[in-house]
Symmetry: C2
Subunit: 210 residues, 2 copies
């Protein structure tokens, strides 16, 4: 059992790789696996989303609501799943909150402060896979999905998204348990191969299972 986070910009391939890993963990390694949307799988998620979309709220309010959503997701899903021996794959977790909701708005809120707040109060992933992609490519990939509507974050311009990316990079400069992959130059298959290799090397998966 482990909490594994997948972080990165929209269009960086998080969902694809989460699904790959889920299926292989289940079918090849016979693990119990649950996938969680780190920022919104809890019972208060829909209400939070409605506030984000319908109400004019400040950046700071937005941050507290996101932390509420995360801590509730942790209590309702992650904690019980880990206790029952599941692997929990989180599609976004702390780094995304920092990058999108603090760093991008240039708030008077340091990474150090964020880490101090979250340190004892949130589960920290055993490993984080950070999927790196140029922001313009990520956006184009998202947009090429037919019928896909951009959300409020995606509608913002590239300058904003580049700031978000810088937020991720700032976050991971200080984090140890993170493995970064370039998902623009490498195919999902290749990245996935490297991921499994990494988990085997870290002894999180057995060698013979391959």
């Amino acid at each position: 059992m482990s909490l594994i986070a997948f972080e990165g910009m929209d269009g960086s391939g998080k969902s694809t790789l989460v699904n790959y890993l889920k299926n292989v963990l289940k079918e090849k390694y016979n693990k119990k696996v649950i996938v969680v949307q780190g920022l919104g799988s809890s019972s208060i998620g829909p209400t939070m989303r409605k506030i984000f979309l319908d109400q004019e709220i400040s950046n700071l309010t937005c941050l507290w609501l996101s932390l509420a959503n995360m801590s509730q997701t942790m209590e309702e899903i992650i904690r019980p799943a880990l206790a029952r021996g599941y692997w929990v794959l989180a599609d976004r977790w702390l780094a995304s909150t920092y990058a999108y909701q603090i760093f991008s708005y240039k708030m008077d809120f340091s990474l150090k402060k964020f880490q101090k707040i979250t340190k004892k109060l949130f589960f920290l992933p055993k490993i984080t896979f950070y999927l790196d992609i140029p922001v313009d490519i990520g956006l184009k990939r998202k947009r090429s999905i037919i019928g896909y509507e951009l959300n409020r974050f995606e509608r913002k311009d590239l300058a904003y998204l580049k700031q978000v990316q810088k937020g991720y990079q700032t976050f991971y400069q200080k984090e140890k348990k993170v493995k970064s992959y370039d998902t623009y130059l490498s195919s999902p298959d290749l990245v996935f191969y490297k991921m499994i290799d990494f988990l085997i090397n870290r002894k999180m998966l057995p060698k013979e299972g391959r």
Copy 2:
């Protein structure tokens, strides 16, 4: 213009004294005054309240939602009111959040951490009036209001409320800009007299206005 917070247990006389001060500031001193429920006057207040009452949420989730509510109250009401020269009287503010939502639950969340989080992100009151009353007396006073229904915090037992009170005391041991009054042994009129005196001594009100 000033932010003045009124803090203390339920039944300690906050509403009464807030009203006294509001009326005197307006009528005698010709000030513009607004009263704000620090923990729930914002546009997201009703939604937050509904979640608190209807959903099973963790203590930590509850704390983030309260901070969201407070920061939104700050942006929507307190900041614009101060900018327009109003005196803002807040019925509960940071100390209540700390006492009710952190200290009372014995969370792994120190006062130092709380102060670090809130320091630059929330307005700090120019002065806080802390109204101190024995918890059993406060509870009895609240209950004696006909038709008054106890809320989820009030229903909890005295041991819990004593813990909340200890939370206030812990908070104020480290705070300078606080003036404490015993509202059990002193009548509201006497406490109010002392309050006005205090504000005059601090040069927040003119002597001749008396």
